[in-house]
Amino acid sequence: MSEEMPGPPEPADKIGELIVRARRLTTTLRGRRDAIRKRLPRRTGSVFVAVLIAAGFVLPLFFSQTSGFLEATLISLAYVVMALGLNVVVGFAGLLDLGYVAFYAIGAYCMAWFGSDFFFKEHIHVLVSGIAAHEIGIHLNFVLILIAAAIICSLMGMLIGLPTLRLRGDYIAIVTLAFGEIITVLAVNGTSIGLGGGQTLTNGAQGISALDEPYFPGIGSFNLLKLRPYYWLIYVIVLLVLFVNLRLRDSRLGRAWVALREDEVAAVSMGIPLVRTKLKAYSIGAAFGGISGVFLGAYYTDVNSDYFQFTFSIFVLAMIIVGGLGSIWGAVVGALLLSYINYYLIPDVINSIPHDFGLNFNLTTLSYGIFGFLLVLVMVLRPQGLVPERRRRLELTGAIAAEDSQLVEVQE
């Protein structure tokens, strides 16, 4: 939908009225917040960020090593990395990507290939310790696997980028979707793709399991009864990715992406290399997806083709749109919000509500619907996302002002 399609500013009916009222409320609240912000001293922002980062580090100490909340949190953080990666492609460069699950799959399979006994004829061990150092198969250090996955995924990202270069708008979406689906089909049917000598590409729905535990000197062992090391690992990854994203956004490349997103013809005529810029967006976004995939693979300790569904791509896309497309903090907020809803609120919290009221009613059957309803609600009330990109916020408020003046003219 585009800007040249003005709906009636004051809908006459009940639904429209409700929506307008609710939106007004959020605007009022935002005004209050801005007023408070003005009164604070200048450095408050960076102090606040520093405190927040420190709080993130000590957070797991307040929860038991096996708590459901901690588990939901570290999965949410993995989704934050995914969302930040997809945000580069969809948010910055404006290339709608519906096949992001492909990079989750490739990352997770990198973990499985390079950190298990799956390649049973190889004996390759690089910087690993413990059981992994004696087993058959390829066993690389976790950091090496992260790097390898990032490289492989960025190459695959370029591969998917190539056929979309001539395409426009949402055609890109369907080609990326097709690519994602082809990768998942390959994952499912990997058992019938032989690599020679009884070795197959994947293990399909049976999964490749018993992946190596990440090993870092000084942190101790990683296992599922001790969630804190996993939390710190993904937290550090999130901070690194966040830093890279913030630097990218304001870099020459980041500005080139935004320019392409806003007006391709104008951007190209200003000397922005179209092919290279777009391919960089795909490959960088894919690399983040791969990194997160490696982590999730290691955390779940098994890589099963059932994990890679189209719904996953949609889930990550929903995160960045709910958060506010193109906005880095929006991607973080959206990813945390939606994955908490999906992994904590719906399974752990909401399900106990009917019981608390003494009702014998199982809400798990409604979890899909609740999630869908929340998506609709958030989007209708805040179409621009929870934390909109600064540039877009300016555009939107500008547009609303223009519309209001039109309305006055008509009424007179």
């Binding site: 939908m1 399609m5 639904i15 082809i182 089909v185 949609i314 896309l317 709910v322 619907g369 999630f371």
Partner: protein, 360 residues
Amino acid sequence: MAAVAERPLALLRRYVGRWGLWLALAALPVYFGIHDLTHGYQAGFVHGHEVIRHDLSNLGFNLVEGLSNGAIWAMIAIGYTLVYGIIELINFAHGDVFMIGSLTAAGLWGTLGLGLATGPVGLTAGLLLTLVVCMAVCGSLNVLIERVGYRPLRNAPKLAPLITAVGFSFILQNVGLLWIGGNPIGVNDLIHENDTVFHISGVIVHRADVLALAVMIPLVIALTWFLGNTRPGKAMRATAQDPEAARLMGINVNSTISLTFLIGGMLAGAAGLVYALYETNVWYFQGFEAGLIAFTAAVMGGIGNVRGAVLGGLLIGCIQEMSDSRLGPQWTEAVVFGYLILVMVLRPRGLLGEETREAG
């Protein structure tokens, strides 16, 4: 201009640009046809011995099945293509509206008491009634979704309604899940779908094939007539081309968009009924896969283009059927999407070209 010595590479590129697509589309049937003729195929058993035949009737059978299966995708794809053409939204909820259509049909047959024993007159009357009800239910459902989920977002960023569409898709899937439970449930084979109606030189045509095409073709003709000749149809095309100009010409853009959703939903309802008869089972998750395929069909044909959506649907049906029976169903999805990527690379605007704002 005298093109004296065109460089071979450029010549090749032009050649691929012009004929590559047709070569690619013809590749599968031609390969399988030659394979059948030279190697033969197993056509059944007589007295415990395999019967090997060397003709094209197996391929023909694949294509007939593909066309009828594709007719269902075509009806869903039209809904996608109309909606995309008019508000540039990939309506992810559309596949689930189709699923609700199937469930409505299956539920209504139970209520009406249509079963295997119902006579032909009762059956025809019952099916027609169900068709009308399904189309009405899905049409109004689609209009309702548009009113609640998409209209408030007219001025929002382009991708915002995409997420409400996903939200509605989840809600409808949940409705389906609560309605019939998590497993596919069987539907009475009301029309005896596997009875042979006729055969042409060895190619068997089943009742289900006739039904699918008999529902799809009149609806598509009616729709084409409606879009081309009536005032509301013209209003739809005008709005798709330029909503602002259409509004200035006195067209009520909002009600035109509602009408588009109504028509898309009605076709999805009809498709839902045909699907229930054709597959003889319904499932709450069927809409997801169907939606994906139908969307692919719409894009393949050229988005916004009704004839393109029909062509895309029929083509995908044929590709699926050939891949199902010869390469194995587990590869079908990859084959379909591989074809899609090929079409997009060779014809970036779809087979028949798009009819949307920027193209117009």
